[in-house]
């Protein structure tokens, strides 16, 4: 028997394989594009929310309208929640992106700025509305040099779940060098490694356990908080 060797069949199969593969990539491209659009559209609303909040606090401060504080605080909390959710989503998209990395990277800057804006606003609200809350800046890194970041983030999520609006956590990608604010903060708090927590003005470098965080956080509240019973 002389074997037939059907070259054409190999070529057709290869082309079809390529076609399916490219089709998958195209679909991916479309979805990645949708992701960018989605974040951009939320970003627009979140920016408006921030402007509105800023105005509301200015209004309260200048006209001494403290009785509005509760309502504004509620809005504040919701805005922060939405902001953090979007930041996390963006981080996730950027990690998994193959094609639109740059667009997402640029968007990330918006979110770093937004988080810092809210961080500063939170400090103001404490004075204006006499709010009893604690803020944490969490410096993480997305590269492999931070094996503990996953665990640290898990603990922070847990604490956020427990303290709800009494605790504000802002997560910042410290490797994001395009934004000078990150560098300024790192200089101010003398941060060199990750993960690092800045709880109000106290700096905790490297992985910090739940109990250590709780000890500091609980000591900062003026009122008694149920969850802090064991740590005061």
């Amino acid at each position: 028997m002389v074997r037939e060797f059907n070259k054409k069949r190999y070529i057709i199969a290869a082309l079809l394989t390529l076609f399916v593969f490219v089709l998958g990539l195209m679909l991916g491209l479309v979805i990645e594009g949708k992701r960018v659009q989605y974040i951009q559209s939320i970003n627009r609303i979140e920016k408006l929310d921030y402007n509105s909040l800023q105005l509301q606090y200015a209004y309260i401060e200048q006209l001494s309208q403290e009785r509005n504080c509760d309502a504004v605080s509620k809005t504040f909390e919701n805005s922060v929640k939405s902001l953090i959710e979007t930041s996390e989503r963006l981080e996730n998209y950027e990690q998994n992106a193959n094609l639109n990395k740059e667009d997402l990277h640029a968007l990330k800057r918006e979110y770093i700025l937004a988080q810092l804006n809210y961080w500063l606003l939170a400090k103001r609200t404490k004075k204006i509305c006499n709010r009893d809350l604690v803020t944490i800046l969490y410096f993480y890194s997305t590269d492999k040099e931070c094996p503990d970041c996953g665990e640290q983030a898990f603990i922070l999520t847990y604490l956020k779940n427990e303290f709800k609006d009494k605790l504000l956590i802002f997560a910042l990608d410290s490797t994001y060098t395009d934004e000078p604010m990150i560098g300024m903060l790192k200089d101010q708090y003398e941060i060199s490694g990750y993960p690092t927590l800045v709880i109000e003005d106290k700096v905790f470098e490297s992985f910090t356990s739940k109990d250590e965080i709780l000890k500091t956080v609980c000591s900062l509240y003026k009122e008694d908080i149920d969850y802090c019973m064991d740590y005061n």
Partner: protein, 415 residues
Amino acid sequence: MAIINIILPVVYMITLFYTIFWLITFLDNKEEKKKVIKEFPLVSIVVPAYNEEDVILETLDSVIGLDYPKNKLDIIIVNDGSTDSTKGVAEKFIDEHNDYDIKLINQDNQGKWVALNSALKIAKGEFFTCLDADSSVEKAALKKMLPYFTDNNVAAVLPLIKIKNPKGILQKIQCYEYIVNFFYKKIMSHLNCVHVTPGPFGVYRKDVIDKIGGFRQGHNTEDMEIAFRLQKYQYKIIQLLDVDVHTYSPKNLKDFYFQRNRWNKGSILNVWDYRKMMFKKEYGDFGILQMPMVLCAGFIAMTIIILVLFYNILKPLFNGIYNLSLVDFDIFSFIANINLNLNLLDFNYYKLIIIAVMITLSLTVFTLAHKHTKQKLTSQGIAPLLVFILFYYLLLGAIWLGITKDLIFKNVKKW
């Protein structure tokens, strides 16, 4: 996730190519017209038996039940050193059927390939086939199979093997497995790429087997070794899907493991023995496509299974448990705060697309296989079907893990 993110797309491409290639091949070949037998050549049927007193009668009954002239059957029972009453059962059967030409060879236990060669020496038939003592064959088998030998290049014609009386989940899974495997072998037959001529009732042209030197040990898979040799000497092997042979299959996991370990180990050791045929143009698709696949597929599948198991199941599980330990296993805090704000865009589309394509292709193959072996998709019930779809590859992965271990620690010298 670095390793898996590189390996997965590569394996995806390779798998995609092979599957598309097979499907094209299958669609390219129209089913040839059924051939009708005109004359009845003498056929030697060997029944090798080692301690098969329970099942050998059933097998012999199916042999004499064949729809074929009595005087054209040359039946040879080889008692391969049985320590039970196989010999007695066989002798009694011969006495009761003295209108048939049945011979009994008694020899020391030396393995199936020796038994086959002993039978080959005294076989008078133009064609030669072997029916393992745990199998039975449909009546019309020879009439359906022999016409394919009109092509002088054809050295072997193979039936569709099905599981006899499948009971329990393991045997039912094997039913599905056999259907898919034989469909695959049908495609291989179109490509002249069949690499195994399974024991139960594969019919050989006897002078070809004599010419190429009979059966060899072939790493305990003599039916694979002979197929490789037939390929080497450029003979055709034809797989049919309309001739049924029923055979018993392993009932428990241990037997299943040892059988598959032997088969798969045999396949790669035989490819290795015949490695000089690989990538040679004169061996066509067999050398270029089939041999590399037989050699690598198992290892690739095993690596993928291990990686997926590690990255997608074990690692997240371990991380999850470790993370929970950091918050004193306060799971309720997380349950109370589950965010149901699901967003379609959040899914890992990259993996989803691969999974979707793979499932579509698998289901296509699975459905075609059932259609062409004339089986219902749910022939064995829904539960075994689900188990087959979800866990079969995991089972294979475990078997290949065993094979890899065996090859590394035991069989290095033989290579």
